[in-house]
Amino acid sequence: MVMSMKQASREKGRPLPSSLFAAILYVVMFVIYSINAPSAITLGGITDLLNNTIVLAIASAGLTLIILAAELDLSSVGVIAVSNVLVATVSTKMPAGTIGSLLLVCLVGLLVGLVNGWLVAFLGLQSLACTLGTMIMCQGIALVILDAPGGEVAAFIMNRLTDTVFGMIPVAGLILAMVVLAWLLFRRTRFGIAIYAVGTDAVASHLTGIDVKGTKLRVFALAGVAYGLAGYLLSAQTGTGDPRVSNSFLLYVFAAVAIGGTSLGGGRGGVIGSVIGAAILTVMQKLLFAVGVADFYTNIFSGLIMVVAILFGNLSAILTLHQRMPLTRHGDHGYSAQ
């Protein structure tokens, strides 16, 4: 007696991605910004905005991968500092300095990522604590390489990467598009799916045959490469090396990921959300300036806007929750555990 359980077969639609609401908020903020500062929508304005966003966006993209695997990582500012000072000291001296220094910083990022990954996955250290240690070490290494701001970045990196291509497409915009495209593809690779699995339930992943330790190691390594790339692009922005990347940048990398809708508990969210989160934090500065907010009001409004961005994200979670409820017959986990 085959039990036929009539269950409304749900149509293909996934619940609304939370990054959609972050995108809506970004558009609203950009509109207010461009109303008050007409130069916002000029090519130069957009190029400058993208150049200011790119470093935070790529660093938070790297961090997103780690948070999806239910781990945390503070070493981003450390790797960015090391990459920045390396580019400033090496890029003009090496043959083919531009490409050579890019490979070098990605290698350095990979190395630090592997060390972090090994400490967390194989030695079983708590990721927040051990990456705090590696962050301080990297900051030390940056100071040893270059004990004060200076050095010189190859002209190509400094001018071409922050300029536009074919006269109308900002290079930073191209790079961001490539990162988003890479993520869309990456998410559907086995490694991408494994990251979500490990982030949701490490024991179940282990029982499913996923190499949990290997996945975590590779996630830290990949994030390290992203941080190296972010450091490289910071060198393009500043055209110089500065061993002291500020701690406030570290907090904003985490803020970008959270505003983008990725849950800090792991298993839910994505890089696109974090890139939008980074864009929100960057346009916030421009918006506040254009609207005429100055002096200490900037801090007050920045704090307010960050909370508002999250409430927008929560709004999306509530709506998606309702949207899913009537469709599935057994909403047996009606209450949200978190």
Binding site: L185, T189, R190, A197, D201, L207, G209, G334
Partner: protein, 511 residues
Amino acid sequence: MVKANVSSLTPILQATGVHKRYGATVALDDLCFSLYPGEVCGLLGENGAGKSTLVKILSGIVVPDAGEIALEGQAYQPHNIVDARTRGVSTAFQELSLIPTLSIAANLFLPKPKVNAIGLVTIRAIEELTETILKQYAVFDVSPSTLVGDLSLGLRQRIEIVRAMLREPRVLLLDEPTAAIADREWLFGLIESLLARGTAILYITHRLDEVRRLCKRCVILRNGRKVLDAALEDMTDDQIFSKMAGRSVVETYPIRESNIDEAAPPVLAAHKASAAGVNDVTFRLRRGEILGLAALEGQGQSSLFRVLAGLVPLKGGSIEVNGEPVRLRSARSARATGIILVPEERKTEGIFNDLSTAANISIPIINRAARFNFIRNRKERQMVERGASRVDLNSRYLWPNINALSGGNQQKAMLARSLLANPKCLLLFDPTRGVDVGTKQIIYQVIRKFAREGGAAVFYSTELDELVHLCDRCLVMYRNAIVAEVRQEELTPHLLLSLAAGHKIDAYGTA
């Protein structure tokens, strides 16, 4: 279903002298046994007897300290799941190994879903493939793109079993496969088709009726040692239990003398209550009564329990406690009126695994053991030991972390915690799931004693004979509504199963 005739040819899997210890505790001690192709071999034993450890060794999760295992003649030492699978051994785990945030299709084909030329998982292709597989394994009306997290517990268990069978294994390990499934015939049908293809199956369960029906031969473990490896026909249930428990334990149910207090207002009553997953539920629960609830998986019984426990807001109708309507805004307000829930999944909703067992038990009423909010250890210890003695939990389990205890002992601690909050009405959601026979007995006695002393209980179970023997009255839920009410005299497992499957029998239709 005719038992497969075991030909006396060479065994497909042979384990000799398998030994495994965790620190001082011996999980498996010098175990020798073999599996024959085309045979279902039962594996019985109390919790902690080593069943799960054996499964983990055979499926490559754990490496034995000593001993050899031969599979089809060659040495077999898998060091992870994928090794085991390539050698033709696959497992359906008791602790479901599915990823809730991924779709059914993704889960079926992890860790290596099919990829196209540039390494991308072909989502559409594997979903179509899943569609055919689900049809082939008679799991209907669920789309392959549904997230596993949205499925009911029973459906998740079916997907786990399908995934294990999917890879045409030579050896299939089934660890408590029917824990959350009510329709067991579905599983027996699949097992029959696998046996025809010569697969060897190791079947781990607590349910004797299943072992008798499927297995000709059975291995019983106690404290890591094999105490029996023989056919079951000539053994009675009691002999099997005494072999398992090492003491004579009769799976009988406490004799039921109901003292239902008709006069007093019902302890708990729902009038046309409806909420997310519950439509127009009306019932009455009187003092001293144990009200059973029968339902196939995913019929809204979980939502009903959450509504009564105040975890899900009521959308329509009303709930009365002792006759007066009451608004259950949160679990706190429900508990204040005396309604205590023993939660469905111990691991995620029950135990605080960073705390000691004593702390787990005393947490709801810790303030009673404190003066000016400072906990007096002596008072807490007395309280906890009083609670532990009511569920027969040995006091040496009280002090280590609760996650070091076996499933049965953890469930006893949950029960002790609920009883300590001196409930008027206990909501028990499948309290005996994944628990050994000894603990089950204790749980039955505790519920009976609670009812005798004037408490009221709502008791949902996937094991129909528990409902038949324990409950004074039994409701049946089907598609989020109560469709039938059966008085104690007419209670039989088959009646409940047919009602639960949706057959209308007007003699038992509710008003």
